[in-house]
């Protein structure tokens, strides 16, 4: 090749090789430790609660269910593990992964580490749509003596998420440039609007609906069941599988939209797909567990600190990290005021809000983008 006007000296070549090796080591270490932590917390989460089961016994029950004779699984332990705790923990894993990935996607889309579906009103929009479905849906369908099918909720929440993501993007983006200050302020306004409308719905609702609404606005994994999982998993799992397809495009977008176009990236398609994925995964998770904030901002940021911003690793690791964080937060939510339990949104906000302030202090300049 004629290109090397200044051939790479031995020192340069070795610095290149050692750089590549240290990056690989970091990546392997990060993947291994997050995976381990996730497994550990999953086992602990299944065992903890009003009725404690030792981690060894949990592993034994799960092992028997997966590989052994399921008929042997009698008794209270097995019942609690398989019918109460397992769906809850699986839901936590799914919702956590969906939230963290949609945070990472939004940060890539807006080219800013401060974007998060909870912070900029996307979750609130999805929550409003869910509340509307609960209150008005019941009201109009009640005469038809129909029970509102659970699948309508994710659909409603998805539409709410999509509308708010699109509105936000249209307001904050002029001529291909996204103003972060506008995005955050518009997000605050959208969130406030959604909250006020949700409040109006609360005013209109009866006691049972009011309890449901409180659940949506603070988030909880308490309503987990196998039926819910069967509805949510087919929506979220394919998304998590599809997300790595966006990684290369998002990496290119980090240089700017024009540069990404020069690199041959189908910019409009990537952006549309990212918006759609964010709306769907936030919608599904809000429908399943209510509005849970800050997972989408804390997790991708920590992963970036550990392994850098390359989306090819960032997106899958965010999914794993988000799953871990939410299951961990759920353990806290269940233990801290046992035998009652705290809404999980309160726990994630207690972790996430100070983290966000710290982020702002550390990178004050990111607001001026």
């Amino acid at each position: 090749m004629t290109l090397a006007a200044r051939p790479a000296g031995t020192m340069a070549a070795s610095s290149l090789a050692s750089f590549a090796a240290s990056r690989r080591r970091q990546a392997v270490l990060a993947v291994a430790s997050v995976t381990l932590l996730c497994l550990l917390l999953t086992i602990v989460a299944i065992g903890q609660g009003a009725f404690t089961i030792a981690p060894g016994r949990v592993a034994e029950i799960l092992g028997t269910r997966l590989f052994g004779d399921a008929a042997e699984l009698q008794g209270r332990d097995a019942l609690v593990v398989l019918n109460i705790r397992l769906p809850r923990v699986l839901l936590g894993l799914l919702v956590g992964a969906a939230l963290a990935v949609s945070g990472a996607l939004m940060q890539g889309l807006f080219r800013n580490p401060l974007a998060d579906p909870g912070l900029v009103g996307v979750s609130a929009g999805a929550g409003l749509a869910a509340a509307t479905t609960i209150v008005l849906g019941d009201r109009f369908l009640a005469s038809a003596a129909m029970k509102l099918p659970f699948a309508v909720l994710p659909l409603g929440a998805f539409c709410g998420g999509l509308v708010s993501t699109l509105t936000l993007y249209l307001i904050a983006t002029r001529q291909g440039r996204t103003s972060v200050a506008t995005m955050l302020l518009a997000g605050v306004a959208l969130g406030a609007l959604a909250a006020s409308l949700t409040g109006l719905l609360a005013f209109l609702s009866d006691d049972r609906q009011l309890r449901d609404l409180t659940f949506w606005s603070m988030g909880s994994l308490g309503g987990a069941s196998w039926t819910k999982l069967v509805v949510i998993a087919p929506i979220v799992l394919p998304l998590l599988v599809a997300v790595p397809l966006l990684a290369r495009g998002l990496n290119g977008l980090m240089l700017g939209e024009a540069e990404a176009y020069h690199l041959g990236i189908p910019v409009q398609r990537i952006k549309a797909l990212a918006i759609l994925l964010v709306a769907v995964s936030v919608g599904a998770s809000v429908a399943a567990a209510g509005v849970i904030g800050f997972v989408g901002i804390v997790v991708p940021h920590l992963i970036r600190l550990a392994i850098g911003p390359d989306h090819r690793l960032l997106l899958p690791l965010s999914a794993l990290g988000g799953a871990t964080l939410l299951v961990g937060a759920d353990i806290v939510a269940r233990l801290i005021v046992a035998p009652a339990e705290l809404p999980i949104g309160i726990v994630t906000a207690a972790i996430g809000a100070p983290f966000f302030l710290w982020l702002l202090l550390r990178r004050a300049s990111t607001l001026d983008g």
Binding site: M1, T2, L3, A4, A5, R6, P7, A8, A12, A13, S15, L16, F19, A20, S22, R23, R111, N112, P113, R248, N251, G252, M254, L255, G256, A258, E259, Y261, H262, L263, G264, I265, P266, V267, R304, G308, P309, D310, G369
Partner: protein
């Protein structure tokens, strides 16, 4: 050289933004092996013309051909194999390392290349642009000049990776040396000419008239959206053009050795008028 069919050509290009005509009926042809340098005063429409030629902006009138095909009919990925672009400033949103930035050049375009080849390509381009020692650094913490050299390495990488797909290629550089010291200015322009020597059509927007005269095979002068002169450098620029377009009352001199024209700003006197 002039007889070779152009790789990229624009015919009667017009571009209007906010009611102002930024490019008014510009035509130019970029031929293989030739370095075309575009000069002109601020706001002459140089960058806009370059953006039209790369496909970043769509012209209000006229057409652009790339390797015989209308530019807007070429899919984005194919286009990226045929031409590489270095824009004026590239800010990054996240702390990517220099290695990752340069790898972006090969990630999309070179996806058909074996992984090993992609990695060596990144290393070669880092070395060629003289930024190997920056490889693990955070791009955001580099100086403006270092960032510019890293972007050049990325563009080199894209061009090299695209060569396995597209035979005839074009390279567009928009003020690539604005933040560089003299040594790196010369090195980068040398490399641009080296790339042209391999048969690539190169278009560079420059502000330094002396460097433009030194490095151009073909000089294009723009003023108020129009191309006012183009051709062989020493035949294109004269004192009248300097006065009318660049608003400086200076006269060109000839360097003793090669007979190249040059310009000394020391002759400048504040005008009495």
């Amino acid at each position: 050289m002039a007889d070779l069919a152009p790789i990229a050509s624009g015919h009667g290009l017009r571009f209007v933004a906010g009611g102002r005509t930024l490019v008014a009926g510009a035509s130019l042809a970029l031929r293989p092996g030739s370095t075309t340098i575009l000069i002109g005063p601020n706001g002459a429409g140089k960058s806009t013309l370059l953006k039209l030629m790369t496909g970043e902006l769509k012209p209000a009138g006229g057409e652009i051909l790339l390797d015989g095909a209308a530019l807007h009919t070429i899919p984005a990925w194919r286009l990226a194999c045929q031409r590489a672009v270095m824009a004026q400033h590239a800010k990054l949103a996240f702390p990517f390392t220099v290695y990752e930035v340069v790898r972006l050049g090969v990630d999309g375009v070179g996806r058909a290349l074996p992984r090993q080849r992609r990695e060596t390509l990144v290393g070669e381009c880092l070395a060629a642009a003289g930024v190997v020692e920056l490889v693990g650094r955070n791009y955001q913490t580099l100086s403006g000049g270092e960032q510019q050299r890293v972007q050049f390495a990325r563009v080199l990488c894209q061009l090299e990776a695209g060569r396995s797909v597209a035979e005839s290629q074009a390279l567009f550089l928009d003020e690539p040396i604005a933040s560089l010291d003299l040594c790196h200015q010369l090195a980068l322009l040398d490399m641009a000419r080296g790339i042209a020597a391999r048969g690539v059509a190169v278009l560079v927007v420059l502000h330094d008239i002396n460097l433009a005269l030194t490095y151009a095979d073909r000089l294009v002068v723009m003023d108020r959206g129009e191309i006012v002169a183009q051709g062989e450098p020493s035949a294109t620029l004269d004192d009248a053009l300097l006065r009318n377009v660049f608003k400086v009352d200076l006269s060109l001199s000839r360097a003793p050795a090669a007979g190249l024209p040059f310009l000394l700003p020391q002759q400048h006197r504040p005008s009495a008028a």
